[in-house]
Symmetry: C2
Subunit: 423 residues, 2 copies
């Protein structure tokens, strides 16, 4: 392809994305008016329709998988791409679960009557048009639709090109169900994915797109957040620490650390650095190291028998059976280390000392702070939100696990009987 034709393609793709965004904005105007019952009916019908279309979806997915295998994609990635009857059941089960969740739209957040008789209500309303940019897994396509639709938003889905056939098959079913229920099908659209130009068009579509949420690796998230002209919500980067305080129970510390590292090492709430207070190192270091090593964890640190640590290890989000380990002088040194290297996701302290627990909880700057509990609990489902939108590591709008209410904004509705404001 020549540089010129590639530029022409990018211009065409940009125009297509803007067209889809305009259509989504138009659809969004009517979504906020749907009743909860109407939305739930659509979500349940969509689940049934995907179950009924499982054969076509699996056939489309087989094309994606074959293409990926022929391109020599690594097996772990191919596995994330692959659908099977169980995974289809998981996808449609997710839609039914979202249907069962409370509707965030119309909830009155606060309200009052002013001395002049004006009645104020602050009401949750949909954001409007939400964009998701994500990687291989086709289940995010349906998830992204479900949570957006339940919260009254239109959604623009920019999945991976490797899942293009699967995503197209799924979105086709969703749009057909919307039409059957007399809902504007532009409430969900799949953006072109052959190159990055659709991402660029999406994240710069000011006035059409209300928020873009990237779901995927650190590189994808940084690209979206740093180049966006529309608001974004940064998710997921987690360099999480567990600090074993001098007043810790060693058994508790060991169990929590092993759980936080080995339960699912590839997710963002796994622990990446263990900080052990010198005041307890003599009792705690050996059992923690040996428990981790017996589970196949590689320890990077300065102590004998560890892989020697470099500055990079303190920054590392391994997402693997690796962990960094450091001895620290005291609580202040632990917080200083976390301030320097943490990503503001989840930080934990193990201690039986009330003053240390309070100081750590208050002083550490993160979306979630755990006292005597595994970092693995930072999760929308664990927190009881029912749906998994991602974990915000930014401070504006949403912080920590995001549920359906995080896909809403608010509106002030003020009712009066002719009040005017004095000069």
């Amino acid at each position: 392809m020549t540089a010129e034709s590639s530029q022409r393609d990018a211009a065409t793709i940009e125009e297509q994305v803007l067209e889809q965004a305009r259509a989504a904005k138009k659809a969004a105007r009517t979504l906020g008016m749907l009743t909860t019952a109407q939305k739930n009916e659509v979500l349940l019908a969509a689940a049934d329709a995907i179950d009924a279309a499982a054969d076509e979806v699996l056939a489309a997915n087989a094309q994606d998988v074959t293409r990926a295998e022929e391109a020599g994609t690594e097996p772990a990635l191919v596995d994330r791409l692959r659908l099977n009857p169980e995974r289809i059941a998981g996808i449609t089960g997710g839609l039914r679960q979202v249907a069962a969740l409370p509707d965030p739209v119309g909830v009155v957040v606060q309200g009052k009557t002013l001395p002049n008789g004006l009645e104020l209500r602050q009401v949750q309303v949909p954001l409007g048009v939400v964009g998701f940019v994500y990687e291989a897994r086709p289940n995010v396509t349906v998830d992204g639709f479900g949570i957006s639709f339940k919260s009254g938003n239109a959604v623009l889905l920019r999945g991976s090109s490797s899942a293009a056939s699967s995503n197209a098959a799924l979105v086709q079913v969703l749009r057909r169900v919307l039409e059957e229920h007399r809902v504007n099908p532009d409430a969900v659209a799949l953006l072109p994915s052959q190159d990055r130009s659709s991402v660029t068009a999406l994240i710069q579509a000011r006035g059409l797109v209300d928020v873009v949420i990237p779901r995927g690796g650190a590189g994808l998230i940084a690209t979206v957040v740093e180049n966006a002209k529309v608001p974004t919500i940064e998710t997921g980067t987690g360099n999480c620490h567990i600090y074993v305080h001098a007043g810790a129970d060693v058994d508790t510390a060991t169990r929590v650390i092993v759980n936080a590292k080995t339960r699912r090492p590839s997710v963002c709430n796994t622990v990446e650095t263990v900080l052990i207070d010198r005041g307890i190192a003599q009792e705690a270091l050996a059992p923690i190291v040996s428990a981790l090593q017996s589970q196949g964890v590689t320890i990077h640190g300065d102590e004998p028998g560890m892989v020697p640590a470099t500055e990079e290890d303190w920054h590392a989000e391994y997402l693997s059976l690796d962990v960094a380990l450091k001895l620290v002088d005291d609580l202040d040194a632990a917080i200083e280390h976390i301030d320097t290297y943490g990503t503001g996701h989840t930080e934990a302290i193990i201690t039986g000392d009330q003053a240390a627990a309070r100081a750590f909880s208050n002083r550490v700057d993160a979306a979630a702070v755990m006292v005597n509990a595994s970092t693995a609990f930072t999760d929308g489902e664990q927190f009881g939100f029912g749906a998994e939108i991602g974990i915000s590591t930014q401070k504006l709008h949403a912080r920590g696990p995001m549920g359906l209410p995080e896909l809403t904004s608010t509106k002030w509705i003020v009712w009066g009987d002719g009040q005017v404001r004095p000069a």
Copy 2:
């Protein structure tokens, strides 16, 4: 100045801003730990100190005013720049008012105990480092400090170069008071203002600055929001409408429209377009037009006796004694017009019809919707927030009048006794 030396200056200014931002971030870590009593003591001491230093502040301000007058600045702008004893009293009164407001830090937003015994609390915490970019008025310098400090944030102030001497004098007093109270004085800093490079450095300081709020004209706001790499909150642009529904009381409509246009035409909540339903135009048009004209308002529209309206008038945020006026067929047409031309600030309907009031409230997409009330009520002080941070016209994080809680984020604090997450 040569292009080369100007580039060198820009690099120096950028380094200075980053240095100030790093110092502010360091100060911010301790601000969140101050008790409400400590913060209030500082705010009251700052008010007293500015009162005591009134002569020096007024002398510095006189320099700014002289410079502006010599440069031929228009009188309205010079007036905004000018301080006098009454305005100083207004500034210090504002600080005392902020001291009296509830502390937003530490408020528990929600919480629960999970089935496994984990105790969750979502607690309001400071954002960290807040940047304000604003125009001539020196009172914003002290306001910006007061609301940021009360909410536990460090603040970077980028005022207008025309107010440089006044701002420097005020910030010097504030920093001295902080030092006297053993608070890190880098909790407030005045950024260089000789050119735009300090704005650019501020809005791109990712990792150091948590949010930038522009306060000023539409051009300033657009520049900040579109070029920022840090989160921003868009404020203030208001093309507000009042729709006189067929079921309106004409006297109410007339009083509300005249109030919304003439009370303070230069503020963002003034009405800029009046939409009159054809179903009531015969009774309503003449009294509304004549009431507006008797107050010196120029009406832009398609009816006889008006200045002929062009497409630009429907977009216009006049901020003057001008208003656009249009006849519309019905509620749908009014909403369609507002969807097309509105800026999402405040939209009002005048009607005695309950169904119309509900439909307008629910369907119009704006920060505030008024039923039978003046658009002038969209205001933090009117809503009872006590402090005026601006009116957000974006949907993320904050929408409508912003109070102190809008300068906070949240943190999940989770206490347990050794819980681990099952596989």
